[in-house]
């Protein structure tokens, strides 16, 4: 238990490997002490970096950076938080509002960083995307316990390198990034209003000979439904066969190809609450 707290410093320095990082982020979502410590340590670390230690940025970079933001949509303040940054004046008034745990800054920022690359790859037209980072431990455990849910037909769904723009354009579309246990950075794109979701990865490691990635939807605490499958590789986009709108989580693992399991037979690699 204390071991996980010890990771705060290494986390603040980005010195955890992907598995450690994922573990610590799960912990971080529920540990205000560690969030504080990480924030503090980052302040210290940022003080280590003095401009003197490196060459100055090339002058041309300035124009490039300033040109680079033209037409780039800005994200709204994190969902579920007071819109302080938009609404407040310059006054330095104390703000007492408690911060929801699920919207914790370090996690959220990290999620954003991960999402941003994919969001860019997907489309810059995603105006209303909110990115939410959630603690997933409970989901994973309850998913792993399931064994007797009825199989659901998994009709093949068309694949392509691009997420359907209409999914991204849905007003409630969310990009939910996560890092799989095998280190792959992936996102789930979800619109409940459209009853659609997609699994997206720009670089998904091959699942091993004879295996496929298997997607799952979770309904309530007990119902796990097999959804569809996809191979590994670059620019993977796989629409869920659904239904999605009554699900509260999406998950992925690896299964033998063609096995059509009714419940995961291998550990879940990653999951997001929706």
């Amino acid at each position: 238990m204390s071991e996980i707290h010890d990771a705060a410093a290494a986390y603040a320095l980005d010195a955890l490997d992907p598995a450690e990082q994922e573990e610590f982020e799960l912990h971080l979502a529920g540990c205000a002490d560690c969030r504080t410590e990480v924030a503090e340590l980052r302040e210290i670390a940022s003080g280590l970096v003095l401009p003197a230690g490196a060459p100055p940025p090339p002058p041309a970079l300035r124009a490039s950076v300033l040109a680079g933001i033209v037409g780039v949509e800005q994200l709204p303040p994190t969902a579920g938080r007071p819109r302080r940054a938009m609404a407040s004046t310059e006054a330095d008034e104390p703000v007492a509002a408690p911060v929801p745990v699920a919207a914790a800054d370090p996690l959220d920022e990290l999620a954003l960083r991960r999402a941003s690359r994919r969001a860019r790859a997907l489309s810059f037209a995603v105006a209303a995307v909110t990115v939410v980072a959630l603690a997933l431990g409970g989901v994973v455990y309850s998913l792993a316990r399931q064994s007797d849910t009825p199989p659901v037909a998994s009709p093949p769904v068309s694949q392509g390198p691009q997420v359907d723009p209409s999914l991204l354009a849905a007003p409630d579309a969310e990009i939910l990034p996560t890092t799989l246990k095998n280190g792959a950075k992936v996102s789930f794109v979800v619109s409940k209003s459209q009853n659609r979701a997609a699994f997206v990865s720009t670089d998904l490691p091959l699942p091993g000979v004879g295996n496929v990635y298997h997607l799952w939807t979770l309904k309530g605490d007990t119902v796990v439904r097999p959804d569809t499958t996809l191979p590994g590789g670059t620019n993977q986009v796989q629409l869920f066969s659904g239904p999605v709108d009554d699900s509260n989580a999406l998950a992925v693992n690896i299964e033998p190809a063609g096995s059509n399991p009714s419940a995961p037979t291998t550990p879940v690699l990653g999951a997001v609450k929706i």
């Binding site: 010890d6 205000a32 504080t36 410590e37 503090e40 970096v49 940025p57 940054a85 938009m86 990290l110």
Partner: protein, 234 residues
């Protein structure tokens, strides 16, 4: 002079975070380090300057959040040397550093509304983003072999010295040098390899031939002991 007396503008931010208890218990030295010299007026003035700078940057970010591209340009001017600096330190390549710097500022623009002053300074917010991306890049682009060669040229200690020499090469960096000198060699090396080398703590342990637990502890207590010397306040 008590640290409390010279950081009035930053203290409220800390309290606002709602994390005060933990901070006071574990990280924040409310009083100057017993071993450290008392702050003189110059140091106090420097601290006030930094607090003012932090407030200015936060103000710029709020304007950026409202789509103010002029504020964005000013923010770039005020922070790009540090941002580019940390990225360059990790990547050691002007081309990569420029590319990642551009990515970072695009993210600053996109995410400005999500910056929360109560959670930390604008500098730390941007620097954190920059460092993460640089580390991501160095881990994905540079092959382990190439990077090992790069770092293996010198003994770990010498590489570290080189890093800190660079960091400390200006008068402005006196406090950093002081902080570094107050660290043990292991703390220094572990911090340098992790932060500027982009190594994971396990790789640092391997490189320094130390148990992972020792490296974890050194990284943490090294950072914390730097706190008073650097005068870092959010």
């Amino acid at each position: 002079m008590s640290a409390l007396l010279v950081e009035p503008t930053t203290r409220p931010l800390r309290e606002r975070s709602g994390y005060g208890r933990r901070v006071n218990l574990h990280v924040v030295a409310d009083e100057p380090e017993p071993s450290g010299p008392p702050e003189d007026d110059a140091a106090a003035a420097q601290r006030t300057d930094r607090a003012q700078e932090a407030a200015d940057l936060a103000g710029l970010l709020r304007r950026v959040a409202r789509g103010d591209s002029e504020a964005f340009a000013r923010l770039y001017d005020a922070t790009s040397a540090r941002t580019y600096g940390v990225i360059w330190r990790v990547l050691r390549s002007a081309d990569h550093a420029a590319e990642v710097t551009q990515e970072v500022y695009t993210e600053v623009w996109r995410q400005a509304a999500r910056f929360e002053e109560s959670k930390g300074s604008a500098t730390a917010w941007i620097t954190t983003m920059a460092h993460r991306r640089a580390v991501d890049r160095v881990r994905s682009v540079t092959s382990e072999v190439a990077r090992d060669e790069h770092y293996a040229r010198a003994e770990p200690g010498r590489e570290v010295d080189h890093v800190w020499e660079g960091v400390s090469s200006r008068l402005d960096a006196d406090r950093v040098r002081k902080g570094m000198e107050s660290l043990t060699p292991i703390q220094r090396e572990a911090l340098a390899l992790a932060y500027f080398g982009g190594y994971t703590q396990s790789q640092v342990a391997e490189r320094l031939k130390l148990p992972l637990g020792t490296v974890k502890t050194r990284i943490r207590d090294g950072l914390i002991s730097l706190r008073s010397t650097l005068g870092v306040e959010s």
